[in-house]
């Protein structure tokens, strides 16, 4: 039976993010402001009521501050008894008088502390929780939890089996939206639940040895087109996200987009063996009595009321199962085959359409222990984002590491940060696509928008794109692309089928290529350690030096790049003999390019594989 699971999560934050700056604008900071504490608790109580009125179970993520508040503790105990709510422990909401007194800092993001402080805070918070409730929690949360932090928590408090561990594509875009003052930089993770590896939270575990011991869930369920393109905080299953994005009718206060978003997530069961997931996790700051940005309190309240009512309605109709976080962790491990078969390779897939802008754009997101990839049907099936999880990159974050704030998993391809098909004036942007040329004319499949259909054969997920027509002077070519994601293979196979040519005797040249670089932000990195190779009998090699060099090798076994800063080797291989080539970039185009060129005729098929490996 198909299952749509929802986790509803509330956190009694005593000094909610934003509330202090909104309510307290023009006042001196007072972290112990009694009015703020009372209001925060009122909001928490309201959130709890709305969920319960709609028959929904909640996971209460107690904050450190709330553990000092008898009323918050009593509400949690009561609702656990009365409604079966789970009492978990959040690492959000640290700020309070007691925390400031003890740690002498205004830092509040657990992943940014030094490892020494992370351990001290975790011990402190978990022991305080135990003092108040008499047991240790089974779930925890933050906006991001780095691998070292998760490993420490699991080793010290093994009861923990579920955690909110990232927020999808909350990185440079969110930073920019907040006037470069919101330092949550953790792009490149899964959008749906996963089992983090011990090496890197973003990268799912490939086997039992890599299993961190928890099931991670993302902070909110995000729009897989809108959040990739714009501010993630406007397009998630947090009703007040939708208000933040101004995606509502100001006269009627209606927001069909919120329900479309939930429904599209429900629809993802088709790509994930009958399972789909949602989560809603709203801090009290978003229901501030003073209103939030353009929205008065009444609209904020209405949105949360409506959100709960919609999930409640789905539950009543038998279309949704509400679980607590720890219940979900058990369910997820069983469903994915981890519990019984020790199988970690089942991917998460999402064929996602635009439900907001009125286009017919469609993306396919794929995530497994070896990669996260995005295929853009609006660009002929080009891969426009690629994260090489195969490297299981160890990337410590926080004070005392090389990455105090930057927790993103690096990309090889990111069409928004490092251009995609379109560049200004010179150079190339990151993308995996193909070009056809004939008699001096050249057409890139990025300019051939289409749609895709999903199917599964055994453990291979297949995207079959609608054929596209390419018009040259004197020749029309009908081409179809198929993309194969074989579970556990760490590669993507792309087939180009020439279905029809207006001149059946003609030949066109197919250039299968990948332009890539590495990084986590919009800015270029040092490429000088990158090594490019045409692999084969007469190997050709380029040590990157921004010299714009090219090498090629007929019948190359592979064309590859080793990218030491991210421990990654990426290569292309071909189904039949073809001319492999490598291209170094230059200072104004700090990329590298790998490709195969081959003449292809009517009814022929040419396949290439994009392969990812750990470099060292």
């Amino acid at each position: 039976m198909d299952k749509f699971i929802v986790n509803i999560i509330h956190r009694p934050e005593m000094v909610p993010e934003y509330s202090a700056t909104v309510t307290g604008q023009g006042k001196e900071e007072d972290i112990g402001d009694k009015a703020l504490l009372t209001e925060s608790l009122d909001i928490f109580r309201t959130q709890q009521r709305l969920a319960h009125e709609n028959g929904l179970k909640v996971t209460i993520q107690m904050t450190y501050a709330s553990l000092f508040n008898d009323e918050a503790v009593e509400i949690a105990k009561h609702d656990h008894e009365e409604f079966g709510d789970e009492i978990g422990l959040s690492l959000l909401g640290l700020p309070c008088e007691e925390f400031r007194e003890k740690y002498k800092t205004k830092d509040f993001c657990i992943w940014m502390f030094s490892m020494e402080d992370k351990k001290a805070i975790v011990n402190d918070v978990f022991e305080k929780f135990h003092d108040r409730f008499g047991f240790y929690p089974e779930s925890t949360s933050s906006y991001y939890m780095d691998a070292d932090l998760i490993n420490y928590i699991k080793a010290t408090y093994p009861t923990v089996k579920c955690a909110v561990a990232t927020c999808w594509e909350e990185g440079p875009k969110a930073y920019h939206t907040c006037n470069n003052s919101w330092y949550t930089l953790f792009d490149g993770g899964p959008w749906a639940p996963w089992i983090p590896s011990k090496q890197n939270t973003h990268a799912p575990a490939a086997n039992e040895a890599e299993d961190s011991g928890i099931v991670a869930i993302p902070h909110l369920s995000r729009d897989l087109i809108a959040c990739y393109d714009g501010n993630g905080s406007n397009f998630g299953t947090h009703p007040q996200n939708v208000l933040r994005g101004m995606i509502y009718d100001t006269k009627t206060w209606e927001y069909p987009y919120l329900y479309n978003l939930i429904d599209q997530y429900r629809d993802l069961y088709k790509y994930n063996n009958g399972y789909a997931y949602n989560m809603m996790f709203v801090g009290p700051g978003w229901m501030n009595k003073m209103g939030r940005w353009e929205q008065p309190y009444e609209l904020l309240l209405k949105s949360y009321t409506d959100g709960c009512a919609y999930y409640g309605k789905l539950k009543k109709e038998g279309k949704l199962i509400d679980m607590t976080m720890s219940e979900f962790a058990d369910y997820y491990r069983k469903k994915k085959g981890v519990t019984d078969e020790k199988r970690y390779t089942e991917p998460e897939c999402a064929l996602w359409r635009d439900i907001l802008y009125g286009s017919d754009k469609q993306l396919f997101w794929y995530c497994d222990p070896y990669m996260r990839a995005c295929v853009n049907m609006d660009q002929g099936g080009a891969i426009v984002d690629l994260r090489p999880y195969a490297a299981k990159l160890e990337w410590p974050v926080g004070i005392g590491t090389k990455h105090v704030q930057d927790a993103s998993y690096p990309f090889l391809i990111q069409e928004k940060y490092r251009a995609g098909y379109f560049t200004h004036y010179a150079g190339e942007g990151t993308v995996r696509s193909a070009k056809l040329s004939y008699n001096g004319e050249e057409v890139d499949l990025c300019l051939c928008p289409t749609h895709a259909h999903f199917s599964q054969e055994g453990r291979t997920r297949i995207l079959t794109l609608d054929p596209v027509e390419i018009e040259f002077h004197g020749l029309t070519v009908k081409l179809q692309t198929k993309e194969y994601f074989e579970e556990g293979s760490s590669n993507i196979k792309i087939e180009r089928h020439i279905l029809e040519m207006s001149d059946p005797t003609a030949e066109v040249t197919l250039d299968e290529y990948m332009v890539a670089c590495y990084g986590t932000t919009e800015y270029p990195e040092d490429m000088t350690s990158v090594v490019l190779r045409c692999e084969g009998k007469d190997e050709k090699r380029i040590d990157y030096a921004y010299k714009c060099r090219t090498e090629s090798l007929q019948g190359a076994d592979a064309v590859s790049a080793v990218v030491p800063p991210i421990d990654t080797k990426v290569s292309l291989t071909a189904s039949v003999e073809a001319e492999g080539y490598i291209e170094e970039g230059y200072a104004f185009s700090p990329m590298f390019k790998l490709g195969y060129k081959k003449k292809i005729a009517d009814k022929e098929v040419f396949a290439t594989w994009l392969n990812l490996e750990k470099a060292n």
Binding site: K173, N179, R244, P256, W293, D354, I355, Y357
Partner: protein, 72 residues
């Protein structure tokens, strides 16, 4: 002129919103004008609300309810 403060609601700058920036505006209670301290936008509440309607132009399907999510 006294310092700027907050208005009755915490309006964001509509011009910055259109470039994916959330910037609170500040309010002059004498002139009843909201102003952005990041860019050059200034406007009355009426103008802010009108511009906020305009920023929604990008949401072409904002009022549509979908019941199909694939192209099969």
């Amino acid at each position: 002129m006294a310092q700027l403060g907050k208005g009755k609601l915490n309006y964001r700058c509509p011009s910055c919103f259109m470039r994916d920036l959330d910037i609170d505006m500040f309010y002059n209670k004498d002139t009843k004008i909201y102003s952005c301290i990041r860019c050059q936008y200034r406007g009355t509440e009426e103008d802010v609300l009108a511009k906020n309607e305009m920023v929604r132009f990008r949401y072409g399907a904002m009022n549509k309810r979908f019941d199909k999510f694939d192209f099969d």
